[in-house]
Structure formats: C-alpha cells, structure tokens
C-alpha cells in the first residue's frame, strides 16, 4: 500500500479481502476486543460522529445523540483489518455496529427499533 496516497482507503476494495473466523485470532482479536471494551458504548461506523460517511451510520449517531448517550466511535473505513475482522468476530455482516459493555447490540435496524420502543434508552442507562 502506498503510504503517500491519501486516497488509499478509497482505492482499496475491502470486499475482496477475505478474513475467515479462524483468522480472527491473536493480535487482530486482541485489537478488536480492546476497541470494543474501550468505552461503555462503542459505535463502529463509516466515518465519525461529525462526518458520517453513510446514511445508516448517520442515523445511528443521531439516535444516540438524541437519547443523550455518551459514546465513542471507531471509523472502520480507516482500518480494513478491523472492518473485515469484526464481521467475522461478531458474525454480523454490516455496519454500523453498536457495542454496549463489550456485547453487540445491533446495527441500524435494531437500534432504530429499540429507540422507538424505548428499550435503547433503558439499556444505555442500565
């Protein structure tokens, strides 16, 4: 990868890079777990909370802000290993992914449904 190319992320096709569950071990697994456990609420998303790069990620951020949750974000577009590794680690194929106390809560559909039912607010306040 050309370190001088600022567009390297955009040029790299993450979908062609296959990481199997067996590969999510050792250093990658430790790295994934350290990010998941870095805060009570961690959102793995495309972009960051100020500049989401995808409508689903933007929607999840808006919901979390609306219920007044304190959360950290991780931009998966900046880290292809985490992006592919996390899909296998959690057996969940899409982003965003929200983790609460180290456990996957869901993607945008689930977060939206839990927001509407009030369950999300109860969870983050628990």
């Amino acid at each position: 990868m050309d370190q001088n190319n600022p567009f390297k992320i955009l040029n790299e096709d993450g979908a062609t890079k296959e990481i199997k569950p067996a590969d999510v071990t050792g250093e990658l697994k430790e790295r994934i777990e350290s990010v998941i456990n870095s805060d009570q609420l961690v959102l793995f998303m495309k972009g960051n909370e100020h500049f989401p790069q995808c409508g689903f990620s933007a929607n999840t951020v808006a919901i979390l802000k609306h219920i007044g949750a304190k959360f950290s974000t991780f931009d998966i577009l900046q880290d292809m290993d985490i992006r592919q590794g996390l899909k296998e680690y959690s057996n969940w194929p899409t982003f965003p992914q929200l983790y609460f106390k180290g456990k996957l809560v869901g993607g945008n559909d689930i977060i939206t449904e839990m927001y509407e039912s009030g369950d999300l607010k109860d969870l983050v306040n628990s």
């Binding site: 057996n91 969940w92 194929p93 996957l104 809560v105 869901g106 559909d109 689930i110 449904e113 839990m114």
Partner: protein, 81 residues
C-alpha cells in the same frame, strides 16, 4: 419457487412454529423484507433474534440474496398487534 418462497420455506423448516412473511423490496428478488413471529424469540435480545434468521440464510446470502431487512417478534406480541 421464487427466492421469496424459498426463504419462507427455509425459515419454516428451521423454526417449527414460525409465522413467516417475505416480500421483494426492490423488484429484483435479491433485496428481501423478512418478517418472522415465533416463540423461540421469547426472552432473547433483538440482536440474537436477528442472528438466528441470519444463520439460517447464511448460505443464500452468499450469492442468491444481496440484502435483507429483518423484523422479528414473539407470537404473543404478533397476536396482540
């Protein structure tokens, strides 16, 4: 059988008491809207409920189906809708 009918059958084969509704979201039969009501979801978090469905569809999701929108609930909740 259409992909929608196949998915409906596949889910019913795996979840005995399932009430399943599958529709085509885009007209291309590869973006499917899936609704499942079953008592196996009782007491489970939504993520776990969705993962049960994702696991059943795992092989089909690799080629036949591009994306799914899932909604799950218990039979009890479905009957009180």
């Amino acid at each position: 059988m259409t992909p929608m009918q196949e998915v409906e059958q596949l889910i019913k084969n795996n979840i005995e008491d399932a009430h399943v509704e599958v529709s085509d979201l885009t007209g291309t039969m590869d973006h499917l809207n899936i609704f499942v009501a079953s008592d196996i979801f009782k007491g489970k978090m939504l993520i776990d409920q969705h993962q049960i469905i994702m696991d059943i569809l795992k092989e089909d999701l690799k080629d036949k189906i591009h994306a799914v929108k899932i909604k799950t609930m218990t039979k009890e909740k479905y009957q009180n809708l």
